[in-house]
């Protein structure tokens, strides 16, 4: 992940500044030889962090026959993701669903984490005062 990219991502997270996404470089490529139902994607500047998490979310989709990722060379910051689907389901749509599910998952984890932390903090401050 490049520094510039991360800055925009953090700005996205903190909502402190409006971010101009049109200036962002395209970091997703469709690799040659891909068909509608069997496609390989190259994610620029990504690694196991997104690769494995996204692979899991896509494998959770029953329309998917195969999903796997690889990092072809350790000194190139690229992650390849292969998706093969059943019965003419579009690989691009499967990838979109995977990304959507991952974002939804993060929302749920964030909510649950905040609730349980606040509960813990409240319980412990009571203990301290009593």
């Amino acid at each position: 992940m490049s520094a510039q990219d991360n800055d925009r991502e953090m700005a996205d997270v903190n909502e402190t500044a409006t971010v101009d996404f049109s200036r962002q470089k395209q970091r997703l490529r469709l690799l040659p030889g891909s068909t509608e139902t069997a496609a390989s994607f190259a994610f620029d500047q990504e690694d196991h962090t997104l690769g494995n998490a996204l692979r899991y979310m896509i494998m959770k989709n029953p329309d998917v026959e195969f999903c796997g990722y690889s990092i072809p060379h350790p000194s190139e910051a690229t992650m390849n993701l292969r998706i093969q689907t059943w019965d003419g389901v579009s690989a691009l749509e499967v990838l979109r669903k995977g990304l959507n599910d991952l974002a939804d998952l993060c929302d749920v984890v964030e909510d649950t984490f905040t609730v349980s932390r606040d509960k813990f903090n409240a319980a412990n401050s009571e203990q301290m005062s009593s």
Binding site: D7, L28, R29, L105, F113
Partner: protein, 400 residues
């Protein structure tokens, strides 16, 4: 019957039925045996258990099954259990915590005078590793400074596109650079200023440098924050940038030696340099599981308890045999040493394992942000990653 024989009605019904509650619990276990570890892969993938078991992604089901319980929540050390997620997700959070949450660190050190015995480059490296703290609002307000790569780094030069960098980020300014200064000179202690004569003390045989000299030790607290422009209001009062630990020893000096330097601190990520990592450690382990399959009684129970760390196994009065019986009290304290499997009397009475989706996270912040906030940042960053590639996917489909 050959394996390819058609299934009977009962077998067919069994293959089409969803997993029972017991089976669902069983597949959460990673088995730990005397010499091997088995069942290491997650099997909650659609199709793995036949058509009867629905393992497809379901947000509501996930929301219900996800549990987070805190064990400790201190600014520098948070421990909590994350239950109900896959290892790939938990690992993504851990990796983001270590390498992708941005923090402020010293990046450039301008040596104005260094006559100490510690070399410029070694001193600069030491300075970089000092953890800094300051007002959280200001730290989040601070933008990134994009330094052009060095001219002789051809790989970085080839990738660098000046048009890709916002103009404001190309030069150091009050929005992206914090200035710290250090000016320390060591000298003999004298009667007039310090109330003691260092030279006289030395003649009398004193060997204590702090007694004989002034500023013989240079500490991190001697770094002075020089707010620039808008930073005056953003980092006012207790929000000032300072070192997390005031007593970090930077260098040792002797009379006549001096260190005068000016530092530029910028925001960066752990993937670029470990000094930018916001955590000292961020790690998880799986909750150990001890399954006593047959009662362990009397003297054996005591011996069994000794196979585990204190507090894992307790003794309980067993009404049936009238003896003491070993019971599991707190598996969290277990280290999974497998000692109990070395004894023949316990070998067949206990099953060890770990729970595949119960992650005991431990996040230790270096001080710049609180540990729980850092974990929240890692969740948001993973989400931002997914959102970013959703945009890229739309662009890809539109043929850009």
């Amino acid at each position: 019957m050959p394996s390819w024989a058609p299934l009977s009605k009962e077998e067919l019904a069994k293959a089409r039925a969803p997993l029972s509650e017991e089976q669902l619990q069983q597949r959460r276990m990673v088995r730990i045996n005397a010499e091997t570890v088995t069942d290491t892969s997650a099997t909650d993938i659609p199709g793995h258990w036949g058509p009867g078991q629905d393992d497809s992604w379901n947000l509501e089901r996930f929301r219900k099954s996800l549990q987070i319980t805190f064990h400790q929540n201190k600014p520098l050390d948070a421990t909590f259990s994350l239950i109900g997620v896959d290892a790939s997700i938990a690992n993504a959070f851990r990796r983001i915590l270590i390498a992708e949450v941005p923090t402020l660190s010293i990046e450039e050190v301008f040596m104005l005078d260094n006559t100490s015995i510690i070399q410029d480059e070694v001193l600069a490296h030491r300075m970089g590793l000092i953890p800094l703290i300051g007002g959280h609002e200001g730290l989040r307000w601070l933008r990134r400074f994009e330094k052009a790569p060095p001219k002789d780094d051809f790989a970085a030069q080839a990738k660098y596109d000046p048009d890709d960098v916002e103009d404001n980020a190309k030069t150091p300014n009050d929005h992206n650079t914090i200035v710290l200064e250090l000016d320390v000179t060591c000298r003999w202690a004298n009667e007039k200023e310090d109330g003691r004569d260092g030279r006289k003390l030395a003649k009398e045989g004193s060997t204590d440098p702090t007694e004989k000299y002034i500023n013989s030790n240079v500490y991190a607290k001697q770094l002075v924050f020089k707010p620039q422009g808008e930073q005056v209001s953003m980092f006012a009062g207790e929000n000032a940038i300072r070192t997390a630990n005031p007593d970090i020893l930077i260098a040792k000096l002797r009379p006549g030696q001096r260190i005068k330097l000016s530092c530029h601190c910028i925001k960066g990520i752990g993937a670029d340099h470990a000094k930018f990592s916001p955590v000292a450690t961020a790690s998880y382990r799986l909750l150990p599981h001890i399954d006593i399959t047959q009662p362990i009684l009397g003297a054996d129970a005591k011996k069994f308890a000794k196979c585990f760390p204190k507090g894992v196994i307790g003794l309980e009065h067993d009404a049936e045999s009238g003896q003491e019986k070993a019971v599991v009290i707190d598996p969290m304290k277990d280290t999974v040493s497998r000692e109990c499997l070395r004894h023949d009397e316990f070998k067949d009475k206990v099953k060890l394992g770990r729970i595949r989706d119960h992650f005991i996270f431990s996040v230790e912040s270096t001080g710049q942000f609180n540990s729980d906030e850092l974990f929240l940042d890692s969740i948001r960053l993973l989400k931002a990653k997914a959102e970013k590639f959703k945009r890229h996917l739309t662009e890809l489909e539109e043929g850009r």
